[in-house]
Amino acid sequence: MSKNYASAEEYGLADLLCCAAAREVADNEIVFAGTGLPMVAIMLAQKTHAPNLKLIFEAGTLDGRPPEIPTSVGDARCEMGASRASGLYDAFSIAQRGYVDLGFLGGAEVDQYGNVNTTCIGDYLNPDLRLTGSGGNPDINSFAQRTVFIMVHEPRRFVENVSYITSPGWRVKKWPGGELVPRQELYGAAFRGGPSAVISTAGVFRFDAGSGRMYLDTCHPGKSPAEIKGLCQFDLDISRVSGETLPPTREELHLIHEVLDPEQIFIPRVK
């Protein structure tokens, strides 16, 4: 059955990101999701191709099936229909124990190795802007089999060196010296995986298994590889583009706007 893809004027960028993110999830996976668009994406996957995925919220919800989109993982809406409501020790223990297949995360800056910053802009000791801090970003990224980052694409965010590595990518700092080493080397037996995709407002990016460097996989409709390369301060590999990011289907748009986020908390309607 051919899919009923929406045309360009029927969806917005948030819809596209949400659907691209949902497609990163396989059925039966255990997924760790933060507040916002990732939550909508996972609930979308749950209602489409991955009905048996299990959702974990950091604040302490295990196998959640919220009837309404929560506005925080601490929200009262998280508990309704969940298998167990407990706390953060439970959630992080489960993650460290190795249950989590996939985590969805965000970031303010990312470098070519998938190192992500959510802590500060500028010198840490003399910051231009202090951000929220790490939250569970490095934890989920350390414990999960793979992580997907959803980010706004601006040149100031896709940088040569992030101001502060909050969340570890494929080449990370070995202390006390701080030289970059492969993630596998540092994590040793605890290595499970790392960033598998970055979904930005320009395209979908993946990482070369050998070099750990980011490459462009798909361009969002209307964007060219060269244009996207121009939006990165590092030298983006655009030699492996597989095509265009698939647009949302009409069924997905219906689910997003009529079922999952009718209040437009995270995903605005375009019309």
């Binding site: 309404e68 508990e79 409501a85 569970g136 570890p168 994590y187 605890a190």
Partner: protein, 320 residues
Amino acid sequence: MNDKRITLQQAAEIIKDGASLTFSGFTIWRRPMAIVCELIRQQRRNLHLIEVQGGPHTEFLVGAGCVDIWESCWVGHELYGKYGANLSRKVGAKEIIVEDYSHAEMMFRFAAGASGAPYAATQTSLGTDIHNPAYDMLGLAGKRDGQRIAKHKYVFSDDPFYGAGAQVLVPAAKVDIAVMCVQQVGEEGTVRVNGQYYSDPEAARTADLTIVMAEEIVPEEYLRRNADQNTIASFEVDHIVECPFGAHPTGMFGRYDVDGAFLKDFYARTRSQEGFDAFAKEWIHGLDNLSYLEKLGWGRMLNLKANTALNYSTSVKRGQ
């Protein structure tokens, strides 16, 4: 039977200048805002906050100049305010020491503290700047006395048992006072949290003294009919305070939702110190809990009130 009841004002008086504090709740849920406001009214100074993660209560205290040290991993108002503007401002001005850990590290630090262990071994956040030795802010400030503040921010160590590789040892949290906000507490201190309990059990047990503010003080015997539904044991709680809506503008499972509009307004207005001071003049100083509620008004609070079948509000406006 020891009488554990105190007033809001007494609760704040127990917390002295220079104390280390932690709190119940998660980001914008179940924060002890009424006690936080009372601390600001009493002009508490030099507080050391050690928390699994921060939220509006952090921003209130930091904005009011009560805090010298903040050890945690995150502060903000979720979708009602992207980051902690007051903390951000004071970090920029070097008016506050921030010690950054990861979320799991903070949680495991509290789990270790709560179980009487001096540290926990974990494998999170390896390779990040969280472990950058140049960023040990309490060390740089000469505050690592090995008493209440550990000698090291963290220590690397190899697993001798299974070859599991590099471990980050993180020191147990040591906290003077936990300030909690929950749905129900019994007369003798037994706490029943409904919904997610976040890191509350560990917060209460790690702290040397625990103050529990509750929506209701209920007969102890009522809670003891179902001991397996209770969250914190009587003897872990030193003082109790009854204060309905004490978590506002944060939310409480089964009772009321987050007041998103209030938080948005706070975030928008308190990016500057002048803005914070004006906010505090309007919403903190010169008020007590009842006059604060009067000022909020019935319409606002009824709108936030949770539907008891669902445990959240069906009338609150959350979206655009």
